[in-house]
């Protein structure tokens, strides 16, 4: 069953701020994951047919390196400091800087998307940091799915357009660190936004923002 009800709230706007009268304003897509979508009715696909983010990272050295297809801004966070288990609201903005349109998924529920469906794609949007004590960590990853069969589950970000993903999650790390009662905490972190896109079983995008957002992370619960 094809329905746009599966998708998060997706809207399209015109970015006017900061645009000179001579410039064509960039369009900005908003994927609002904080708005719960209505329950869908499509049947779930078997686990083995589901989309996975697992993909190899290739690319030939010595050949001219392809420009990254997107440029990601520093993540916008709702607070300057977080502790374990805190709710976190954030936005990630990326711009298609390539000369090709990007089909970007928008559905939070991937259970109905078969990897063999036309246009099937899975993406993740997450916060990412590397810290000498905590190591490399992903925070509050959002997994988005889409296929042409589900109307509205894929948006097309044309060259020059932007997509803003608004999400909510929990400040929990991705890798165990042992005991939290360390003397060197709280940790001042430099948080980046990370976007990954896998389509057709191939890694299409794996980028993170060069710009960072400072966060003070305490590990004791509030």
């Amino acid at each position: 069953m094809t329905t746009s009800l599966w998708a998060a709230v997706v809207s399209l706007g015109i970015l006017a701020a900061g645009v000179s009268p001579l410039q064509k304003p960039a369009r900005e897509h908003l994927i609002d994951l904080t708005v719960a979508p209505p329950a869908g009715t499509a049947p779930s696909v078997p686990d083995v047919n589901r989309l996975t983010l697992q993909a190899a990272v290739g690319g030939v050295a010595d050949a001219p390196r392809k420009q990254a297809p997107i440029r990601i801004s520093a993540p916008e966070l709702d607070r300057p400091d977080y502790r374990i288990g805190d709710a976190v609201a954030f936005e990630v903005l990326f711009e298609n800087v390539s000369d090709q349109p990007i089909a970007f998924p928008t559905m939070l529920d991937g259970s109905t998307v078969d990897r063999d469906m036309p246009g099937a794609a899975v993406a993740s949007v997450a916060l990412f940091f590397e810290d000498p004590i905590l190591g490399g960590q992903m925070v509050s990853p959002q997994f988005l799915y889409g296929a042409r069969e589900f109307a509205g589950s894929l948006i097309t970000v044309q060259p020059g357009e932007r997509a803003r993903i608004r999400a909510r999650g929990t400040w929990i790390l991705s890798a165990a660190t042992g005991t939290p009662h360390e003397p060197h905490w709280p940790r001042p972190l430099k948080v980046r936004a990370a976007v990954m896109l896998v389509a057709g079983g191939m890694l299409r995008i794996s980028e993170h923002s060069n710009a960072v957002t400072p966060v003070l992370f305490g590990t004791n619960k509030r």
């Binding site: 993740s124 490399g136 929990i172 890798a175």
Partner: protein, 616 residues
């Protein structure tokens, strides 16, 4: 009027110097003691010998063997001889007396004496033996006029005994769960100990007390608060021989500190008769974890201990690790005294114990350490021909740039990593089943699925190609020639360039492969090392956990890939150390469609090609 003999005093001095020790010097041990034999003669009736000063440590015992005594040299004679063990105030602690004729023997105290045999040292001066006094009483007509005796005095250690205080003021702090041992005399005010209780902490006392089988002591342990006010009679026993407390399977009298954390006192006391030997332990219910150190995935068991007869409820495990912060509540066998299961993240186990009408929440931290996973080792590069396609998951096609092109261009050799991992699904994606980490996701293993391919243009690889023959190695370096600022004239040697291209791609240094190896060597980049700690709370679905793993490891592979240049290692026209420029590449002249002759004299600094354009 008594008369004294001085000889024993001198022997005592010797014995003390030779064998004795001081308590201050051996606070936690006990002086070894001594055994000494002494003989003496008392002349006259109702006469005391000089007292034998014992100088006993409270942790020691004393026994006296009266080897032989005599109050008469006549077969019909006899006389009274008294052997007395006294405290420092000369109060009698034990007495053995004879109506002794020509020979008699015994022990002090008597082997069935209420004082105990050997006589135990006591913490207080009131109960601690201080000296031995021998005296005569009346002799009969044939007895006397002297009494003689030989004693073997043995002072022996009892390590760990009587380390309490003699009052609240000097009561030592004792630890919960550590046994205290001692003897206590009814003359003493008691033996005092200090114990710290946290807010809400439960306390009871267990142990045993031993006294005379017939003249049983009245033995008690009383709890006082920090204001030295009595708060609870914890033990109240009448030991005839040995009694244990509390009754089996119970905690006996329980006290709960309902106030703030503070110190309390325990006073151990005997009344009516001495308690020869007591052992007690201040006990609080505890939560233990076995094994104490847990490696991720180990099965560990929380156990409520020291709560005999207690009721157990409300087991929880609060994950303190920032990666899986959550609380797991037990739903199966909730009243069991143990909770076992795999532990994969650090946290704090908690349980409520009801005991003696009180309840206390116990907790125990569990620190989970990573498994000793070996890092992925770099894959070995495999040389490929032009047109080779890397595995479908990367699908990169290897194309090599023609080295004869003018001007020379990059890509004569290429390095093509395809960074990937494999996780057996579903067997290596694990979710803890039951136990304190129920539902928490973790990884069992990950395999390296990376391939590394490389190659170079066949004309470079082939020493007999026209290109190789045209690059004859007639380069002559000019002044200050270097890899970054070439200066000289002539062409490089094809074989050297071939080695240079190989070095640039897969050499041990100054190569793309070296960049890959260096990235893999970083603990914050190696995929396997960073896969080991990936976990997710129970609320995370297995599907999302798989995606999380793919995201995190894919992120690492992206970072490794980014490390494989740029920056580019120096090209094949540089030597292995990237120090010297080895010559220009002889390419096909676009006008003549032929290579320049080689060797040809070429003036310095007027190469056919711009040095900066001389790339592979």
């Amino acid at each position: 009027m008594s008369r004294h003999s001085w000889k024993p005093v001198m022997i005592l001095v010797f014995a003390t110097i030779a064998l004795g020790g001081t308590r201050s010097a051996q606070a936690q041990s006990c002086p070894s003691g001594y055994t000494i034999t002494t003989s003496n003669t008392i002349t006259g009736q109702n006469t005391e010998a000089m007292p034998w000063i014992l100088a006993m440590d409270p942790c020691q015992t004393v026994s006296v063997q009266i080897v032989t005594a005599s109050a008469s040299t006549h077969p019909s004679g006899n006389g009274n001889i008294y052997f007395r063990l006294r405290n420092a105030a000369h109060q009698i602690l034990a007495e053995t007396s004879f109506v002794c004729g020509m020979s008699c023997s015994g022990t002090l105290p008597g082997t069935n004496d209420v004082a105990g045999y050997p006589a135990p040292g006591m913490r207080g001066a009131e109960g601690n033996p201080a000296d031995i006094l021998v005296s005569t009483g009346l002799f009969n007509w044939f007895g006397g006029p002297t009494a003689s005796y030989t004693l073997i005095i043995t002072v022996a250690p009892r390590t760990g005994y009587n380390r309490g205080g003699t009052s609240f003021a000097n009561a030592p702090m004792i630890d919960i769960g550590v046994e205290q041992k001692g003897s206590v005399h009814w003359r003493e005010p008691g033996q005092f100990y200090r114990v710290h209780l946290d807010a809400g902490q439960l306390l009871f006392v267990r142990g045993e007390a031993t006294a005379h089988y017939w003249y049983g002591s009245y033995f008690s342990i009383t709890l006082y608060d920090d204001a030295q006010q009595e708060v609870r009679l914890m033990v109240n026993a009448a030991p005839y021989n040995t009694v244990t407390f509390p009754a089996a399977g119970t905690a006996g009298v329980v006290y709960q500190n309902s106030g703030a954390a503070r110190d309390f006192y325990l006073k151990v006391r005997a009344q009516y008769y001495p308690t020869w030997d007591f052992k007690f332990t201040a006990v609080s219910p505890r939560l233990t974890l076995s094994p104490a150190t847990v490696t991720r995935g180990d099965t560990a068991t929380f156990t409520v201990v020291d709560a005999p007869g207690g009721a157990v409820s409300a087991w929880t495990y609060e994950v303190t690790d920032p990666a899986a912060a959550s609380t797991v509540s037990r739903t199966v066998d909730v009243n069991s005294a143990t909770w076992a299961g795999q532990l994969v993240v650090s946290g704090v186990g908690r349980v409520t114990v009801g005991l003696g009408g009180y309840s206390q929440q116990l907790e125990k931290a569990a620190v989970v350490t990573p498994r000793s996973w070996q890092p992925f080792t770099p894959q070995t590069p495999v040389q490929r021909s032009d047109g080779y396609t890397t595995p479908p998951k990367c699908n990169d096609v290897l194309h090599f740039t023609d080295p004869s092109l003018s001007p020379p261009q990059a890509g004569i050799g290429v390095y093509a990593p395809c960074l990937d991992h494999h996780i057996n699904d579903p067997s290596d994606y694990a979710s803890v089943n039951l136990g304190p980490n129920h539902g928490i996701k973790w990884l069992l293993d990950v395999q390296d699925a990376t391939t590394i391919d490389w190659g170079m243009h066949q004309d470079v690889d082939n020493p007999n190609s026209a290109w190789s023959l045209a690059n004859c190695g007639n380069f002559v370096a000019g002044p200050s020639n270097s890899c970054t600022t070439p200066n000289g004239a002539g062409y490089l040697l094809a074989a050297n360039f071939r080695s240079g291209v190989e070095r640039h791609e897969i050499g041990p240094a100054n190569s793309h492969h070296a960049q890959y190896v260096a990235a893999m060597s970083r603990t914050d980049r190696n995929v396997r090392l960073n896969a080991e700690p990936i976990v997710a709370p129970a609320t995370t679905s297995l599907t999302d956990f798989k995606q999380l793993v793919a995201l995190r490891l894919g992120n690492l592979e992206t970072l490794i890939r980014a490390a494989i240049g740029p920056p580019e290692p120096c090209g094949g026209e540089c030597d292995a150390t990237c120090s010297d420029f080895i010559g220009y590449i002889n390419v096909i002249n676009p006008v003549t469609h032929a290579y320049a002759a080689c060797p040809v004299p070429v003036p310095f600094a007027t190469g056919l090609f711009s040095p900066k354009g001389a790339k592979r």
